[in-house]
C-alpha cells in the first residue's frame, strides 16, 4: 500500500553532520560575546522535561543492556573528593579504576580517576601509563572563589603532578551577575595553563538554575575552549539532572554542527544506579548519537555508581544478584 515513487530523505539527513573543524571565534569584549550568545534559542522547561520523561521510558533489554552497562563502566570518572581523602584511599581507588571487578578481568577499566590536586601524584603513581586518565579538580574547586593567579597555579600544579584531565569550575557569581566576559577569560586562561591536559568545565548547573543559563554557559565554555562541559561539582544541593544533560547535549550537538568541534559532556553528582546511568545513555543516543557514545565524549562523575553497574553486570551474565560485598568498597 505504500506509494512506490517516494522522494526519500537522503541518509545524510539522519544523524548529526559535523563539518570540518573551523577556527573558533575569539572574543575581546563583553559585547562581542553577548552578541554570540544572543543567537542561542531559549529552552522551554516544560518541553525539555517532557522530552527526557519520554526518553526515560525506553526499555533496554538483553544484549543492549549488557553492552550499555559495559559502556557506562568505561565512562566512569571514579571520584573521591573528600577532605578526609588519604594517599591509601586514592591508591585503592586507582587499583579499582584499572580493574573494577577483581574477580572478573572482562570488566572494562573506567575512564579516569578524579581527585584533588594534592592527590594527583599518588594517583599517577598507581595508574602509570595505563589508558586510565588521571583527572584533577582545580581552580579552587568546588566554589571557585579565588583569584585567577591562584586558580592558574592550582591548575599548573595538578598538571605538573601528572594530571592529564583538569576539571575546573566557572565563576558562577560572575556569570549570574552578567559578567560573562570574566567567565570566558578565566576559562581561556585555565585552558592555556592546562597545556595538553584536557579541560572539563564545570558549569555547576544547580547554581545556574535555569535551562536558558545552562545553554548559554555551555556555549560560552565551548567557545572558550572546553574539551568537556560538566554539569556539577557534586557539592551543591542540585547536581546532574536528565533535562540539564539534554540541554547540554543539544548545545554540544549544535556547536559541533556549527564549528566542527566535538565537545564532550560529563554528568556528575547524584547518579548512583545503573537504571539512572542507562537513562543518560539513552538521552545521549537519541540527542547526539554514536560519536558521543564513547568515554572520549561522555563521562559519569561518580563513586557509588560503579558498584551498582558491576552488580547489574553480574546479574545480566549470571542471572543472579551478587552480594554487595563481592565488590570492593572503594
Amino acid at each position: 500500500m505504500t506509494p512506490s515513487a517516494l522522494r526519500l530523505v537522503t541518509p545524510d539527513s539522519s544523524g548529526i553532520k559535523i563539518p570540518a573543524r573551523k577556527n573558533l571565534p575569539t572574543f575581546v569584549t563583553e559585547s562581542g560575546l553577548r552578541t554570540e550568545l544572543k543567537k542561542l534559542s531559549g529552552v522551554d522547561s516544560v518541553g525539555a522535561e517532557a522530552r527526557v520523561a519520554k526518553l526515560s521510558t525506553r526499555s533496554l533489554k538483553k544484549d543492549t543492556k549488557k553492552s550499555a552497562i559495559d559502556l557506562a563502566i568505561s565512562m566512569v570518572d571514579l571520584t573521591t573528593l573528600e577532605g578526609a581523602d588519604t594517599a591509601g584511599r586514592v591508591s585503592s581507588l586507582c587499583i579499582k579504576a584499572l580493574q573494577p571487578d577483581a574477580n572478573d578481568p572482562s570488566v572494562p577499566s573506567v575512564a579516569a580517576v578524579c581527585v584533588y590536586p594534592d592527590m594527583v601524584a599518588n594517583a599517577r603513581a598507581v595508574i602509570g601509563n595505563s589508558p586510565v586518565h588521571v583527572a584533577s579538580v582545580s581552580t579552587a574547586f568546588p566554589s571557585g572563589r579565588a583569584s585567577l593567579p591562584v586558580k592558574l597555579l592550582d591548575t599548573k600544579e595538578a598538571v605538573d603532578a601528572g594530571a592529564d584531565e583538569i576539571d575546573m569550575v566557572i565563576d558562577r557569581g560572575a556569570f549570574l551577575s552578567g559578567n560573562l566576559f570574566k567567565v570566558y577569560e578565566e576559562i581561556v586562561a585555565v585552558k592555556e595553563a592546562c597545556g595538553t591536559a584536557h579541560l572539563k568545565v564545570i558549569l555547576e548547573t544547580g547554581e545556574l538554575v535555569t535551562y536558558d543559563n545552562v545553554r548559554r554557559a555551555s556555549w560560552l565554555a565551548m567557545l572558550a575552549g572546553a574539551d568537556f562541559i560538566k554539569t556539577s561539582t557534586g557539592k551543591v544541593g542540585v547536581n546532574a539532572t536528565l533535562p540539564v544533560a539534554l540541554v547540554m547535549l543539544e548545545a554540544v550537538r549544535d556547536f559541533a554542527e556549527e564549528y566542527g568541534e566535538l565537545v564532550g559532556v560529563k554528568v556528575a553528582g547524584g547518579i548512583r544506579t545503573t537504571k539512572d546511568a542507562l537513562k543518560y545513555l539513552v538521552v545521549v543516543n537519541e540527542t547526539v548519537g554514536s560519536t558521543w557514545l564513547s568515554p572520549d565524549y561522555f563521562r559519569f562523575g561518580a563513586s557509588s555508581l560503579l558498584n551498582d553497574l558491576l552488580l547489574q553486570r553480574t546479574k545480566q551474565r549470571t542471572g543472579n544478584y551478587a552480594r554487595p560485598d563481592r565488590f570492593s568498597g572503594d
Binding site: 500500500m1 505504500t2 506509494p3 515513487a5 517516494l6 522522494r7 526519500l8 530523505v9 541518509p11 545524510d12 539527513s13 539522519s14 544523524g15 548529526i16 553532520k17 559535523i18 563539518p19 570540518a20 573543524r21 534559542s41 531559549g42 529552552v43 522551554d44 516544560v46 518541553g47 525539555a48 517532557a50 522530552r51 519520554k54 521510558t57 525506553r58 526499555s59 533496554l60 533489554k61 538483553k62 544484549d63 543492549t64 543492556k65 553492552s67 550499555a68 559502556l71 543539544e250 559541533a256 566542527g260 566535538l262 545513555l281 539513552v282 543516543n285 537519541e286 540527542t287 547526539v288 548519537g289 554514536s290 560519536t291 558521543w292 557514545l293
Partner: protein, 485 residues
C-alpha cells in the same frame, strides 16, 4: 567537507515487547445490554483484527435496529427506575470505582488497546489509559456538586444518551463520553467504532465488576448502520458523536426537529504556528508530538505547520532529522514511537491524499524507516513547498503526514491558520507572551496550546468551532452537554 557523521540511535535497542497474553481477549463478544453480555438477535457478527499483523483478535456481535432498541429500552428503564433516583454521592461512588478498576487493570487495557488499535504501547500505557481513569475520577467529583457547576440551582439530566465514538482513542473517548453523562445523571448507550470494539467491551466487564446498576450503561458493537439506528431511535434524548465531519453533518440532518440534544466533535486541520523566537528544540518535539502522536489519527493533530520564514530552514532541517529518528514498528514494543495505521481503508485514504500532495507539486520527505511486511503501515512524512490551495493543506488526512507552510508576519500566520473549514485546535510557539496572546485571540479554534501540543487533561474543556463541531468535553463545561440547560 564533512569530516564526521554521528548516527542517532547508534545504540540499537533490542526488542522489548509487552506480552500480548496480558490482554486476555476472548474469542467472541456479545452485546452489553442491561448489565449482561447477550447475543445479537440476528446472530450476526464481525471480526476485529490487529492492524499491525492483520491477525484476527476476536469475533464481535453486530447490533441491528432490534438490538439497538433493546439497549435503548434498557437505558430508559434504568434511567426511570434507578439512575434518576440515585443521588449525586451514590453516582460518584460508582464513578470512583470505575476509575480505580481501570487503574487496577491498566496493563490489560493498554495491551488490548494496542492490539486492537495499532497504537504504540507507550502511548496506551502512558496516555490513553491513565487519562481515561482520570476522566472518571474528575467527573466523579462533579456528581454531587452539579448545583455549583453554574447551570442553575438544580440542573437536570437529559435522559438516555446515545454515544458514538471513533477508533482513534477507543477507551479514552468512551471515558470522555460516559464519565460526564453518568455524573450528570444520564444513562447511556455507547457504540464503539467497528474496528476497535475491544476496550469498550473490557470496560463493560469493569462496569459489572463495579456493580453499576443494570442498564445504566449499554455497549453495542456494530458498523455505521448500528450508529444510524441509535441516532434515529425515538427514545434517545441526546446524541454525542465524535468522528468525521461528513458523518456529523448527516447526524445533524437526521435528528433535525426531533428535539434531541446534540454535541459533535469532528475533524480538524490544526495549525501549529512557530515564531522565530520559539525554543527550537522543544518546537521540534512539539511538531513531532503534534502530528505523529497516535500515527496522526488525532482530530486535533497539528497537521499544518506554519513556520516563520526566517527560521524555516533551520526548523525543517531539525525536523527531518527527528522524523528519521522515529521508531516505527511493532506497537507492543515499549520503544516504538509510531505504530500501525488502524485499517486498510484508512491507509488507502492516507496514501491517496498523500499522492495528491506530490501531484500538486509539494516536496515530499518520507522517513526511510523499514516498515513491517504484514499489517497497515505508513511512514512518517513531511511535505514542504505546500500552498494553501493544495488538498494536503485543506483536507484532514488523519495520518502521519505533515504539511509545512511559511509565513512572515503574525497577521499572515493568523490568516493562514484560520483559512480552513475546521476550527478544533492550534498551537502557538513563541517566547513572547504578548505575541502568543495576540495570536491566540485571533485564531478560530476551540483549543489553543502555547509552547506545547496535544496535551489533554480532564479539567480542561475540549471541542471545536465551525466544521469541527460544537459542545465541549472535559472540565465544568463538559457537564453542559449532559444537562438540560
Amino acid at each position: 567537507m564533512e569530516s564526521l557523521h554521528s548516527q542517532l540511535g547508534g545504540l540499537q535497542y533490542d526488542d522489548a515487547p509487552e506480552s500480548a497474553a496480558i490482554a486476555k481477549i476472548k474469542n467472541e463478544y456479545g452485546l452489553f445490554i442491561n448489565g449482561k453480555f447477550t447475543d445479537a438477535k440476528e446472530h450476526k457478527s464481525f471480526l476485529t483484527i490487529n492492524p499491525a499483523t492483520e491477525e484476527t483478535l476476536s469475533q464481535v456481535a453486530q447490533a441491528d435496529s432490534k438490538d439497538v432498541d433493546a439497549a435503548v429500552q434498557a437505558a430508559k428503564r434504568a434511567y426511570d427506575k434507578v439512575w434518576s433516583k440515585t443521588t449525586g454521592p451514590e453516582r460518584a461512588k460508582y464513578l470512583f470505582r470505575i476509575a480505580r478498576l481501570i487503574q487496577e487493570r491498566s496493563r490489560e487495557f493498554a495491551v488490548t488497546e494496542t492490539l486492537d488499535n495499532g497504537k504504540p504501547i507507550r502511548e496506551t500505557r502512558d496516555i490513553d489509559v491513565p487519562l481515561a481513569a482520570a476522566h472518571f475520577f474528575y467527573y466523579a467529583g462533579w456528581a454531587d456538586k452539579l448545583s455549583y457547576a453554574g447551570y442553575g440551582p438544580d440542573p437536570q439530566p437529559l435522559g438516555v444518551a446515545g454515544q458514538i465514538i471513533p477508533w482513534n482513542f477507543p477507551l479514552l473517548m468512551a471515558a470522555w463520553k460516559l464519565a460526564p453523562a453518568l455524573a450528570a445523571g444520564n444513562t447511556c448507550v455507547l457504540k464503539p467504532a467497528e474496528t476497535t470494539p475491544l476496550t469498550a467491551l473490557l470496560l463493560a466487564e469493569i462496569l459489572q465488576q463495579a456493580e453499576l446498576p443494570d442498564g445504566v450503561v449499554n455497549i453495542i458493537t456494530g458498523d455505521g448502520s448500528t450508529g444510524a439506528a441509535l441516532v434515529e431511535h425515538p427514545d434517545v434524548n441526546k446524541i454525542a458523536f465524535t468522528g468525521s465531519t461528513g458523518v456529523g453533518r448527516m447526524i445533524q440532518q437526521r435528528i433535525a426537529g426531533s428535539g434531541k440534544h446534540l454535541t459533535l466533535e469532528l475533524g480538524g486541520k490544526g495549525a501549529n504556528i512557530v515564531f522565530e523566537d520559539a525554543p527550537i528544540d522543544e518546537v521540534v518535539e512539539g511538531i513531532i508530538d503534534g502530528i505523529f502522536f497516535n500515527q496522526g489519527h488525532v482530530c486535533c493533530a497539528g497537521s499544518r505547520l506554519l513556520v516563520q520564514e526566517s527560521v524555516a530552514d533551520d526548523v525543517l532541517r531539525r525536523l527531518i532529522r527527528r522524523v528519521e529518528q522515529l521508531r516505527v514498528g511493532n506497537p507492543l514494543d515499549k520503544n516504538t514511537d509510531v505504530g500501525a495505521i488502524n485499517s486498510a481503508e484508512q491507509l488507502a485514504r492516507i496514501a491517496e491524499l498523500t499522492s495528491t500532495g506530490e501531484d500538486e507539486g509539494a516536496t515530499r520527505h518520507t522517513s526511510t524507516c523499514v516498515l513491517p511486511q504484514k499489517g497497515f503501515w505508513f511512514p512518517p512524512t513531511v511535505f514542504t513547498n505546500v500552498s494553501q490551495s493544495h488538498r494536503i493543506a485543506r483536507e484532514e488526512i488523519f495520518g502521519p503526514v505533515l504539511s509545512m507552510l511559511t509565513f512572515r508576519t503574525p497577521e499572515e500566520a493568523v490568516q493562514k491558520a484560520n483559512n480552513t473549514n475546521y476550527g478544533l485546535a492550534c498551537g502557538v510557539w513563541s517566547e513572547k507572551g504578548s505575541r502568543t496572546l495576540w495570536v491566540a485571540e485571533r485564531l478560530r479554534a476551540g483549543v489553543i496550546w502555547a509552547n506545547t501540543y496535544n496535551k489533554f487533561d480532564p479539567t480542561s474543556p475540549f471541542g471545536g468551532v465551525r466544521e469541527s463541531g460544537f459542545g465541549r468535553e472535559g472540565g465544568r463545561q463538559g457537564l453542559e452537554a449532559y444537562l438540560n440547560v
